[in-house]
Structure formats: C-alpha cells, structure tokens
Amino acid sequence: MITFRLSTHSGVPPYLQIVQQVKQAIRLGILLKGDQLPTVKEVVGMVAINPNTVFKAYRELEMLGLVEGRTGSGTFVLGRPAGPPPEIQNAVVNSLINWINEAKKAGLDEESIEALINSTLHNIKRGNNESTNNK
C-alpha cells in the first residue's frame, strides 16, 4: 500500500504530486502489477485534498497507461513506467549514497548537497535543450 505525502510549498500542483508518487512507487517496486491504489476517499483522508484532484491524478495515470480504473471495484496498477527496473534503481541509489557520504566528508551540509544536485540537473537539462534547439 502506498502512503501519499503532500507538500504545499513545493510549487508542484497537488495532482502532479500524486501522479509522481504513484509513478515512483511503481518504479521502486512498492506498487506491483495488479495492486490496488487507495480509493479516492482514502487518499482524501490521508492528505486532506480535494477529491477532484485525486480523480484528476488517477485519470492522468490511466492516460499514461500505468493504472486501470475498473468500474465499481477501484483503480489497479497495470505496469511499470518507462525506465529501468527496480534492481538497477537500487544500484544507482547505492552509488548515490556513496556519493553523498563523500560529499559530507568533504564538508557539505544537506542544503548544499541538495542545491548542488538541483543546479547540476538544471544545467544538464539546459545544456541538452540548447543543443537540440541549435542555439
């Protein structure tokens, strides 16, 4: 079973947070094919959110082909999103842990590590965009 968290200061719309968390749970193997997603009422009771937001998130997941709504019985996981299987993710997580430990040893605190990751991601993304746009 998946537990949702909602951050109201992240700038990510609530429905998208739900979509991302389901995707992530499927990627990490927390949710498997055939598993049932919590009902809308359960989600609403978990995170205090407008039910239409949950409907919207589930519709989006359906459109992505990740889940299937079955009338009267609920919403079920169909398969994994594009991307590597959980084993490979775990390997990547391990190397990330090593890297973080190294960064901490070098004297970086959590905030700087986060900022470093975000800005590097951003730079790589922008670099890619610029090369594809031929700018």
């Binding site: 109201t8 609530p14 809308v40 407008n50």
Partner: protein
C-alpha cells in the same frame, strides 16, 4: 419543473451589497460558485467575507443587489435554511451540553437530520460524545460543529474561518473530514470556506473568490486562475494594460520591472518578458496589494493639504 431555470451554480449574486449607515461592508458583489465545488473565500480583514456569508444564510438582509442560492432567494423560511449548513467564526455551541445532546437537539429542530451519520463520524474521530463540548479541545469542538452541520445533509456548507483558531494538526484533521464529506456527497455538496491560510485552501479548494475593499476581485476555478495569471519579469519599462493582459500588480527597481498579470490570451508571448507561473498565494497577495494601493491613493488624494 422548468429545467431552464435550474442553474449550474449553487450561488449566484448580482451587485450584492450591505450597508451599515454610510459604510458599505460589501459592495457590488457579483459571484458564481459552481455546484459541487469547494470554494475559497479570501481577502483581507474587513473585506466583507463574513458579511457575504451572513447574507447568503439570511442572517442579514441585503441593502442592494440580489442573490440566488440553490435556486432560491435567501429567506428565513425553513425550506430555504434546511439545505444550508453554516458554521459561524465563533463556533456557537452550548458549552454545557455534550455532543450526544447536541445531536439529539438537532433531530428535534431539523426535518432532514441524520443522527447516525453524525454519531458515526464523531466516533471514528474518537471524540468523547458524553463530555460537555465546553471541555473538548478546540479541534474536537470544531469537528463536533462540522459533524452537526453535516448531519443536516446540506447541499451548501458555508464555513467562516473554521480553522483559524486550530493548531496545525487539528487543522489538517478538520480539512480531512471536510474533504471526506465532499467525497461522500459525490458532487451534491458545495462548500464555501473563508480563510487566511492560503496553503490549506490550495489543498482542499478547487474554486476561489477574492474579496478586497468590499468588492469582488476574482471569482473562478483555481485551475483557470493558475493558467491565466503569470509573472512577467524584464528590463525596466513603463507598463500599461494592453489587450493581451491586465496588470494586477507591478513593481520596479532601477533596472527591472516585475508585473503580475492576468492574460487575456493564454498563448501570449513577448520576448521582452521572462514569463513564470505563479501559485495561488502570489495571485491572492497581488489582488490584495492592488486594492490596498487603490485605497492608499484615495486616502492620499483626500489628504492633500
């Protein structure tokens, strides 16, 4: 029944106003709140939020304009009031009576009362039904009040700053209960909730009404509001409203101009500006700031020596 007269809106007001002697507490308020929506009523203190809610529940009589609520005009008739749940800011309850007694009283006073639902809801929240409500915590008292309002099985629920006095945990619990009630009602319950806690509203609400200086600044669903409002940042220039956008708020530094605008054309693009999305909090603050600037200008003009 004539289908054409049935509105898609739970609330429609036209030019609604309330005057106390020479002071307009609410002026020219024209809003539409779609049926089934959870609408946030926001604005600075004294903007007329409580006045509007009181007019809708017929606790006060309009000085101007008209209101149509669930296809009826506000009145004190039991027929009108039976469909509306109202929770006043001060949560009025009998401090010495317990929740069970409040529920029993509701049964006497209302035609369409669901004691079982109210009892079940409060049991699920582990609220002691036999303790005088005056001895419950603030959060529990708010939950009892919400339970009582819902036991009426209203089609419209008007909440005046229901979470203002609650601690963060009790606040989230209250909002959970509210959101669950909305889910259960399956589109048959419309909620209007006034609050200053914008982050909370963004969670639970899908529609927003911004009042400031006693007038309506914005009334639309939140998704549309987020799409149509943008922040434009660019090299300093004197900006004026155009047919492409309306400026809600502008600020200038020596070199830079920042505009929060409402786009008339969502495909608008101008290379002069760097465009960025805004969140509900930024939109609300911009409208509230705009109305304060206007008030200041008027005060300044009146104060010319």
């Amino acid at each position: 029944m004539n289908q054409q007269t049935i509105s898609k809106n739970a609330i429609e007001t036209k030019g609604l106003g309330k005057r106390y002697r020479s002071f307009w507490a609410l002026k020219d308020c024209s809003i539409n709140v779609p049926k089934g929506s959870v609408s946030a009523l926001v604005g600075p203190n004294g903007a007329g939020k409580t006045t509007l809610l009181k007019l809708l529940v017929s606790l006060s009589r309009a000085s101007a304009g008209s209101a149509n609520v669930l296809n009826k005009s506000p009145s004190q008739s039991p027929e009108y009031l039976s469909e509306i749940g109202y929770l006043a800011q001060e949560i009025p309850m009998y401090a010495r009576l317990n929740a069970k007694e409040h529920i029993a009283m509701g049964l006497h006073l209302n035609d369409n009362w669901d004691s079982e639902l109210a009892t079940k809801r409060l049991n699920e929240l582990a609220i002691p039904l036999d303790r005088p409500v005056g001895k419950l915590s603030g959060g529990q008292r708010a939950q009892v009040a919400l339970g009582l309002a819902l036991a009426k099985k209203p089609k419209l629920l008007l909440l005046d700053e229901p979470v203002a006095a609650l601690d963060p945990l009790a606040r989230i619990d209250f909002l959970k209960s509210l959101a669950q009630a909305v889910t259960d009602a399956d589109g048959e319950l419309t909620v209007v909730m006034s609050s200053h806690l914008l982050a909370d509203l963004e969670r639970v609400c899908d529609h927003i009404v911004i009042l400031a200086s006693g007038e309506t600044q914005l009334c639309e669903d939140i998704e549309t509001a987020l799409k149509s409002h943008k922040l434009l940042v660019g090299v300093r220039k004197e900006a004026v409203d155009s047919d492409k956008y309306t400026i809600i708020q502008q600020s200038h530094t020596a070199r830079e101009t920042t505009l929060l605008v409402r786009l008339n054309d969502t495909k608008y693009h101008d290379s002069h500006w760097h465009m960025r999305d805004v969140d509900i909090e930024e939109i609300v603050l911009a409208y509230m700031g705009q109305s304060r600037e206007q008030a200041d200008t008027i005060a300044a003009k009146g104060g010319v020596r």
